[in-house]
């Protein structure tokens, strides 16, 4: 007990808090819940094969069950903690249980479309995932990317304009990555060639893209809306068989082409970064550029290329806002997604898996907030809207604490000038 490290203390503290919360949930949502009504969880969303249409649980029974499950999770976590193993599984069970215990209580007599809740979370996470993948590619190569927001916005703008003018969504899909890459070229040129501080640079590039799109939007897109800003958009394609799998199908396999592209990109990056020559080299220039240079890797060329690829990815993500959903462009429509994506990347400790999970977590929190407000939870709407942001702060400060970025992230490399 006495010789406990900071990280272990944090884990223990977290377990204790979770335990207390689950006890509270048990008391308030479980035993304190005298409602005789039930909560219905809908499992069917679209045209998937139906095994079970919905699950109906008595509100108090559900809450009690989940609170107990949560306590079990805490116990499990504590057991593993004592055995000096990771308590992550226990913590996850406990956290999710609290949530469900709460939902059972809050949604007394209401309907929770479980599949839809998850699918919506994914949909809200899509641009965040694209954005965080862009950040990942840059930062793993040693270039800080604060300009994700700008890359997304540029992609959204360009795809809407091109798809409007040509009436072809495909052309919009092609131009979006190029627009994102254009922002990247600026980022790469100034950061890698001229050694400008990358945090400042990224921030300024966002301002630049905001300014450019606002300006052109007002000057061209509003006055000549029918030609410049009335883009067609993609519709969902259900993948045969896969799309029919209950729960999974509608969540993952009834999406637009942009989402399918996202799966491919995520897979390619996760694989490429850790299994290929390119990935090994990319990580090496992000960790220790001198070492990479000393074995004959052209550090700055690789960085430049990766930053541009990152722009392509984020640009494509930008298309999700326009031709991926409504078609037309709206002023500053990315609404800060790039910054949330950045937070997801950091929260995910610069790993593809972590970043995606963080993005999904945010998307889920955001959508849960929406769903709860629809079924009518009597919390002022403003506070409900804060939920995803508060959740992020709690997660960042309670769970992960100090982070370790790639060692050379943000460090300008010029041969012979360092050390």
């Amino acid at each position: 007990m006495k010789k406990m490290s900071v990280a272990r203390k944090r884990t223990l503290r977290f377990l204790i808090i979770l335990g207390a919360l689950n006890l509270l949930a048990l008391a308030k949502f479980g035993f304190g819940n005298h409602s005789t009504l039930s909560t219905t969880y809908g499992l069917v969303l679209g045209h998937e094969w139906i095994i079970l249409h919905s699950v109906v649980v008595k509100s108090s029974t559900g809450s009690t069950f989940f609170a107990l499950l949560g306590l079990l999770g805490c116990g499990l976590g504590f057991l593993f903690f004592k055995l000096n193993k990771t308590s992550l599984a226990g913590i996850s069970i406990a956290s999710i249980s609290i949530l469900f215990s709460f939902i059972c209580w809050a949604a007394t007599g209401k309907f929770i479309p479980l599949t839809g809740l998850l699918q919506g979370g994914l949909m809200l996470a899509v641009p965040l995932i694209f954005g965080s993948m862009s950040g990942l590619l840059c930062e793993r190569s040693g270039v800080i990317n604060i300009a994700i927001e700008g890359q997304l916005l540029a992609g959204a703008f360009a795809s809407a304009v091109v798809a409007s003018v040509t009436h072809k969504t495909m052309l919009g899909l092609i131009i979006a990555p190029i627009a994102g890459a254009a922002v990247s070229v600026l980022l790469a040129t100034f950061a890698i060639k001229f050694g400008v501080d990358q945090v400042i640079l990224g921030f300024v590039l966002n301002v630049l893209v905001y300014g450019l799109t606002d300006f052109l939007y007002k000057r061209l897109l509003i006055p000549y809306q029918s030609t410049w800003n009335q883009a067609p958009s993609f519709s969902q394609i259900s993948i045969p068989i896969l799309g029919k799998i209950p729960i999974i199908g509608p969540i993952f396999f009834d999406q637009t082409i942009i989402v399918y592209l996202m799966y491919a990109i995520v897979a390619a990056i996760s694989y490429g970064l850790f299994r290929t020559k390119w990935g090994l080299r990319t990580r090496s220039v992000g960790e220790h550029p001198e070492a990479a240079d000393s074995v004959g890797i052209d550090v700055n060329k690789l960085r430049f290329r990766n930053v541009v690829i990152a722009g392509l990815v984020a640009g494509l993500g930008g298309a999700y806002f326009t031709i991926g959903s409504v078609g037309s462009f709206g002023k500053e429509m990315t609404a800060g997604s790039g910054f949330i994506a950045l937070a997801a990347l950091i929260f995910g400790k610069w790993t593809p898996k972590g970043a995606i999970l963080a993005a999904l977590l945010f998307g889920f929190a955001d959508n849960l907030q929406g769903t709860l407000s629809i079924i009518g939870v009597s919390v002022p709407s403003e506070f409900m809207l804060m939920v995803p942001y508060i959740a992020t702060i709690i997660a960042v400060s309670g769970l992960i604490g100090r982070v370790r970025a790639p060692a050379a992230d943000g460090v300008f490399y010029s041969r012979g000038e360092s050390h």
Binding site: A7, T276, R281, A291, S294, G296, D298, A407, R415
Partner: protein, 499 residues
């Protein structure tokens, strides 16, 4: 293969790092380059390896001119290099570090490393290394890391191997093994350029010695010359290699460390069960190969480390758990391992650096108001007292040379009332003159009745200064021996062998 350099010149601003250097290394020769810190040895080698562009000069390999603009060019003509500062990626495995830059891919684009793995194991056994290709480099001791560096250079059949201070982090025994490896390589026809400060080693292995001073080749020396001769060639004046010391016997215990344990963020032990005492007027040196817990122990002495358990009594008072500021002010002078990273604020002026620790006290501050005058007066005084060579006390500290930077740190740390001096690698990277100065100051503190805890990886320094020597290995003190112990005894302890 032979390598010849002609007229290599390199300047950094007004500093001439290499001045028209000519050098010829023959087939199967071990060519040592000797020179004090900052003489320009690494710069020259980095130029050969393509990491630094020379202002002028040409290279000939086997008599044919070659152009080297980047490391890839050097690798292509068969030049391999083990760098003074590790060129290993800490978070990569040994295998990943070795194949980096020479990767093979399968048809589907994934890394193919089985051939490399085999070759690593074969080479390692050939030279008697024990290396796990899948170990993560940051978890390896520096000695093993050094081997990885060497393997990296050997993997791709370097014909000319540059070794820039490869023995700096090795134990004496490891160094001996390493010398054997060099000899084996020589026998197989590899030309080696060997850089070292350590005259013993150079004498033991070199076929030819080139001495560089202030960027110029000042002599081609015979390996049979005496150490004193070589040293004075390096420095340009006669030097006295050993300090005098007078033995003190005073029984009062100043510091008593008992059952000290230090853990990292996730609770893994870094340092365990440390017990020692230091008396008034005594120097206890902590020797050991870098990375065996010395840094953590040193940090713990002033509460810079968080997860510390146990007791440190300073004149009977417990200091574990105090703030850093309180620890320093309870009478500890602390010279950190890295003066650039932890000792000084490069952007700050010399004057400001001299009061980092006392800026909030009289006479430098009244309340929150700082007094520029007092700060300047203090700086003027210290610059004279410690012979800090600078044009102005307002110059940023980053503009000073290494030795003068260290003097600033010393001047600051010794300006408080001191009972214990904790000095970590106080002469690392300093030249002979600066080393003399630092040693003199440390001995003066001892004369004045202070306890000194000296951390050093330089065995020579430890042997010269210490009254007693504690050797650390894997976070523990293996043994505390008398100053009369032999190099061999200490060397064995450093390698973890408890007699």
């Amino acid at each position: 293969m032979s390598l010849e350099l002609r007229g290599v010149t390199k300047t950094f601003g007004s500093l001439v790092a290499n001045d028209n250097i000519n050098l010829k290394v023959d087939d199967g020769e071990i060519h040592a380059i000797l020179g004090e810190n900052g003489a320009g040895k690494s710069t020259l080698m980095n130029i050969v390896y393509g990491l630094v562009q020379p202002d002028s000069g040409e290279f000939l390999v086997d008599g044919n001119p070659v152009t080297i603009h980047q490391p890839a060019d050097a690798l292509a003509v068969g030049i391999g290099m083990v760098h003074q500062h590790f060129m290993l990626i800490p978070v990569f495995s040994v295998l990943e570090n070795i194949i980096l830059g020479h990767e093979q891919s399968t048809k589907i684009g994934s890394l193919e490393s089985s051939a490399a793995r085999e070759k690593i194991l074969k080479l390692a056994s050939e030279f008697g290394f024990h290396i796990d290709p899948d170990a993560i480099v940051e978890n390896l001791s520096v000695g093993v890391q050094q081997r990885v560096e060497i393997l990296k250079a050997l993997m791709y059949d370097a014909k000319i191997l540059i070794l820039d201070e490869p023995t700096a982090v090795l134990t004496p025994q490891e160094t001996d093994e390493f010398i054997e490896i060099m000899k084996k390589l020589r026998a197989s026809g590899t030309a080696i350029i060997f850089i070292s400060h350590k005259l013993r080693e150079v004498k033991a292995v070199a076929d030819k010695i080139t001495v560089i001073r202030q960027g110029k080749v000042v002599a081609i020396a015979d390996p049979k010359s005496t150490q004193e001769e070589l040293a004075s060639l390096m420095v340009g004046r006669p030097v006295n290699l050993t300090e005098k010391k007078t033995i003190h016997h005073d029984n009062a215990v100043v510091v008593k460390v008992s059952e000290l344990n230090i853990a990292d963020e996730v609770g893994r032990p870094l340092v365990s069960n440390i017990n020692f005492e230091i008396h008034k007027g005594e120097i206890l040196a902590i020797a050991g190969v870098q990375g065996n817990g010395q840094t953590e122990l040193a940090n713990a002495m002033v509460n810079l480390h968080k997860n510390v358990h146990g007791s440190i009594l300073l004149d009977g008072q417990e200091i574990v758990g105090l703030s850093v500021n309180k620890s320093l002010h309870s009478g500890i002078a602390y010279v950190p391992e890295s003066r650039e990273l932890d000792g000084l604020i490069g952007k700050f002026s010399i004057a400001e650096n001299l009061i980092l620790d006392t800026h909030h006290e009289q006479p430098f501050a009244k309340g929150i108001f700082m007094s520029n005058k007092a700060v300047e007066e203090e700086a003027q005084k210290k610059v004279v007292e410690f012979d800090i060579r600078t044009q102005s006390i307002d110059a940023p500290v980053s503009s000073l040379s290494g030795g003068n930077k260290q003097k600033v740190v010393l001047a600051r740390e010794l300006s408080r009332p001191v009972r214990l001096v904790v000095a970590c690698q106080p002469t690392r990277g300093l030249d002979v003159g600066a080393i003399e100065f630092v040693h003199k100051r440390i001995l003066e503190e001892r004369e004045a009745g202070r306890a000194v805890l000296l951390f050093s990886t330089e065995l020579d320094e430890v042997m010269t200064l210490a009254d007693r020597i504690a050797v650390m290995y894997k976070g523990e003190i293996l043994s505390i021996v008398d100053a009369s112990a032999t190099r061999e005894q200490i060397g064995l302890l450093m390698a973890g062998v408890k007699s």
